[in-house]
Every structure is written in structure tokens, then in C-alpha cells.
Amino acid sequence: MAETIEARFAAETALLDLELLPGQEAALLEAYAALREMVALVGADYPMAAEPAHIFVPVAAAEHGK
């Protein structure tokens, strides 16, 4: 993993195959830094069984469109 936020941003942009327009990189880099802070705040240390808010709920075929 790249060491600086700028390097991580550049690496992910390349991985995502995003072609940024002129001038977009600076704004997105700022946003990316804020995004990673938010990811850290939300955290990843959850009990194994902690379910997400939205899970798929199957319905019988006859229920679709009712």
C-alpha cells in the first residue's frame, strides 16, 4: 500500500480506471482524504454476526408487484 494519501489516491484512481477531467484531481484528493477519515470513523471492528442495515428479504414470486 502506498504511504502518502496522495500516493494512495493516485493508486486507487489508476485501479478504478478513472479518467479525471482537468482540475478534478485536486478537489477529489481533498474529498478522498475526508472519505478515508470517515471510513476510519465508521470502523471495521464489528462482532462477526453484526448484520448490515439492509439485507435481502426474499419474497414469494406471487408477491412481486403486489
Binding site: L18, A34, L35, M38, L41, E51
Partner: protein, 467 residues
């Protein structure tokens, strides 16, 4: 700007006059169209005015009413729709160059319900691009302006909806709310803005921004008007996978008068005195509002919610992840067809990893449960809607971070009903607002509290002084 101007009648008052055949829907519609003609060049609230269609719909309403077929309180009432609500045969462009010329072949469910109730569609209203692009000058339509001071922002994303209702350019406007986009313009334009419970009102036929956070709801001059509209648009819709089958209440009957005895209110003080400190005038107005509600008989205590930054971070990841998924193809193929703000705010969602998204959804459930626990002993939560009154146009931060969050997004995450009501004006005459948050599917209590507050305060007597 007089009490006799029909454009300033609340829906309930106009409806009574129409039902009693003392106000003609055609005359009312023409009065609004004249006012739009006079003011829209300044306010930019409408992107498209449907002059002929509106007069024709008003004529049809008038004929029906005169022949004894009165459909209800929205029959003959002129309204506007945010330009992300699909309207058959009428362009719905989401404020974006990428959708210019897009003409839906079906109405959104809410559009259809409002038409069935006899409402008269005056036109389509300005929106932030795809309900996310912010106050921008590089999109096909100029940004709406705040009728209380046209140098100031009306907020968004339902910017035209807020400006139009406040300026008397329609009796009601529909907005959408993913992170506050109904309540925020309601707050800064001095209106009632209701975000119903997630699933209460169909989003089918409304351009999506974030599937699990999007809500549809009305902006009105009074809380009572919001109850009238909710009665028409609430209910299960198989066209919206998130639509709830929960029974629809009688919202008007819930407005029992000014007495709030038996109602328990919890002030979420940490949010606006610790997490994001509200400005002095917002705080003072809020504290006065709490005293008014206490005098009306409500029991007031304090509740402590999880940190605002945690709600906002969780909602941000979900909203951006879902938003990018919706726009990914067009963003890659035609990025130049987006304004700069919308392009950046959507593109950042590409960097939300699958695991980030799942963790955010896990956190979401925890926050919803924690909020529910905090509300164990209260019927509703009180807090300001926004920490500040409206800034000058285009001074809003790009909101990439958590620098100065509003107090609305937590309740998109939890899905709870939340109502913004005007609770005074700052020293420059800009509106301030109180937010009332209820339990899921308990819109009645939220509306009851808001209505009682409005009856006890003089804020509905003041209108913007536009010429």
C-alpha cells in the same frame, strides 16, 4: 404581499374557499402564474412553467367542483414539483445537461396521486443537479435564490421548491431528502418541510440519488398543509421496493389543537452544543421554542444521541457509494455533461470500497438502534434544523468532510420522520428553524407538535417582501 393575495393562502384556507365556491381554481391558478411571471426571473425557482396545461387543469377542476364532484382539499390547488419527479410528456431533467430533453412516458407515483387528488401542476422546480450538485453556476439552469434575501442561498437540493413556496409561487412543492434536502430549504426559506418515514411515501418515478437514504415529501407554508399533502401521497406502492405496507393514519385528525399535554420531548443538546455548535441566534431561537412547547404542556427532558460525526460519516459513505453506482456509466462516458460539483460529489463514491459500504451499513443499524434507545422515554426529539441561517449564495462548503454538518442527515440514516418548522428570524431577517423528529411511522406526533408550535407563535404572519 397582502393578506388578501390568494397566492399567500395556506392550502387549508384556499381549499375551504374552493369547496364553498368562493374561490375559483382558474383565478387562483392565474394569480400564481402572474406572480411567477413577475418574480421567476429574479428567483429562478421554476425551470419550466406549464402555463396552458395549468390553466386547462384548473378549468377541469372548476367544472368538476361546480358539478358537485369535489375530490378533497387539494382539488384546484396549484403546486410545483422538483424537476426530478417524472411527469408524463413533460421534460424532467434533474438540473443536468446530461438529461436535457429527457421526457418521461409515465408519472412518478406521487405525481399521479397529486393529480388524482385534483392538484394543478404549475411547473417544474429548480433542483441541485441530480439533487446533489450544490448551488452551481455551470449547469443548464441558474440556481434558485432565497426570497427572504435574494443574495442568499435557499439551500438545497430542493432549492426551487423552498424558494417557490416562500415567495408565493405555488401553494405546495414536492422535494426529496437524502441528507436534508427537504428540511434544509424549508429551514432557510421559513417553511414547513416534512421528511416522512423511509418507506412511507413512494419514490417510484423520482430520480434516485441514494436508494436507501432517499425520501420524498412536501414543503408547505404551514404544518397543517403538510398533513394535507401527506394524506394524499402516503401509502404502499409496489413500484418502490422500499415502500412500506404500514397503515396510513388520519394525519389531519392528529392535529388536535394547541395542547401538548402528555407529549414527552427530548432535547438532543449534545448535537448542537458539543458536536457542531450552533450559532448564537440559532441557539437562542431554539431555546425559546423549547419554552413555548413546555408552556403548551409538553414534558421536556434531554436525550443524548451518538456523535453527529459518526452519523454523518456513515451516511456519507452509503450515499456516495449508492450515488456513484447510479451514475457510474454516464460519469465515465460523458463526465463533461455534469457540473463540477455534481461530478466531484458523485465521483468520490467510486473510492468507497465494498467493505467500507458493508461496514457503514452495519454501523447504520447500530446507530438506528442507539437512537431508538435514546428515545425510550420520549415521543420526539428536538434540535435545530441547521447550525446557521442562510449564507450568501455559493458560500456553502463543498461538504466533502465533517467540518460543519447540519443536524438532518442522522434521520435519513435512521429513517425517522422529521419536520422542520420556522422558529423565528435572525437579526437580518433570515428564517431560523426547529426540527422535530419522531418515531418511525409516527408522523402524527411530529405534525401535532409542529402544528401546536405554529399556532402558538407569530412566525406564519411574515412573508418575504418581494416586489
Amino acid at each position: 404581499m397582502t393578506a388578501t393575495n390568494p397566492c399567500f393562502l395556506p392550502i387549508t384556507a384556499a381549499a375551504e374557499l374552493i369547496a364553498n365556491r368562493r374561490l375559483s381554481p382558474v383565478e387562483l391558478t392565474r394569480a400564481y402564474l402572474d406572480r411567477i411571471e413577475q418574480l421567476n426571473g429574479t428567483l429562478h425557482a421554476y425551470v419550466r412553467v406549464l402555463h396552458d396545461d395549468a390553466v386547462a387543469a384548473a378549468r377541469a377542476a372548476e367544472v368538476e367542483i361546480m358539478t358537485g364532484n369535489h375530490r378533497g382539499p387539494l382539488h384546484g390547488i396549484p403546486i410545483g414539483l422538483k424537476d426530478i419527479y417524472d411527469t408524463t410528456g413533460i421534460p424532467t431533467e434533474g438540473g443536468s445537461k446530461s438529461c436535457l430533453g429527457r421526457v418521461p412516458t409515465e408519472d412518478a407515483t406521487t405525481t399521479r396521486l397529486l393529480k388524482q387528488a385534483g392538484a394543478v401542476l404549475l411547473g417544474k422546480l429548480t433542483t441541485w443537479e441530480f439533487a446533489i450538485g450544490g448551488t452551481a453556476f455551470d449547469t443548464p439552469f441558474p440556481p434558485a435564490r432565497n426570497p427572504w434575501n435574494i443574495e442568499h442561498d435557499p439551500a438545497g437540493s430542493s432549492s426551487g421548491s423552498g424558494a417557490a413556496v416562500a415567495a408565493g409561487l405555488c401553494a405546495m412543492a414536492m422535494g426529496s431528502d437524502t441528507g436534508g434536502s427537504i428540511r434544509w430549504p424549508a429551514a432557510w426559506c421559513g417553511l414547513a418541510g416534512l421528511k416522512p418515514t423511509y418507506g412511507r411515501v413512494s419514490r417510484a418515478g423520482i430520480m434516485p440519488l441514494s436508494f436507501s437514504l432517499d425520501h420524498a415529501g412536501p414543503l408547505t407554508w404551514t404544518v397543517k398543509d403538510a398533513a394535507v399533502v401527506l394524506q394524499v401521497i402516503a401509502g404502499h406502492d409496489p413500484g418502490d421496493p422500499a415502500s412500506a405496507k404500514h397503515p396510513v393514519s388520519d394525519y389531519h385528525a392528529a392535529l388536535v389543537g394547541g395542547d401538548l399535554k402528555g407529549i414527552r420531548l427530548g432535547v438532543a443538546r449534545t448535537m448542537f452544543e458539543r458536536d457542531c455548535v450552533a450559532s448564537d441566534e440559532v441557539l437562542a431561537a431554539f431555546n425559546r421554542s423549547v419554552e413555548v412547547l413546555r408552556e403548551l404542556g409538553a414534558a421536556v427532558s434531554e436525550v443524548e444521541l451518538p456523535p453527529l460525526a459518526l452519523y454523518n460519516a456513515t451516511a456519507f459513505l452509503i450515499a456516495r457509494g449508492e450515488g456513484f453506482a447510479i451514475h457510474a456509466k454516464t460519469l465515465r462516458e460523458r463526465p463533461q455533461d455534469y457540473g463540477g460539483l455534481a461530478r466531484d460529489r458523485l465521483t468520490i463514491g467510486a473510492y468507497v470500497r465494498a467493505s467500507d459500504m458493508v461496514q457503514a451499513m452495519r454501523r447504520r443499524l447500530m446507530l438506528a438502534e442507539a437512537t431508538d434507545v435514546a428515545m425510550r422515554n420520549v415521543d420526539a426529539i428536538l434540535l435545530p434544523t441547521a447550525p446557521d441561517p442562510a449564507p450568501r449564495l455559493a458560500e456553502l462548503a463543498p461538504y466533502f468532510g465533517n467540518q460543519r454538518p447540519t443536524y438532518m442527515r442522522p434521520f435519513n440514516l435512521t429513517g425517522q420522520p422529521a419536520l422542520s418548522v420556522c422558529n423565528g428570524f435572525d437579526s437580518t431577517g433570515l428564517p431560523l428553524a426547529l426540527q422535530i423528529v419522531g418515531r418511525c411511522f409516527d408522523e402524527e406526533t411530529v405534525l401535532r407538535i409542529g402544528d401546536a408550535y405554529e399556532r402558538a407563535t407569530p412566525w406564519r404572519e411574515r412573508r418575504p417582501s418581494l416586489q
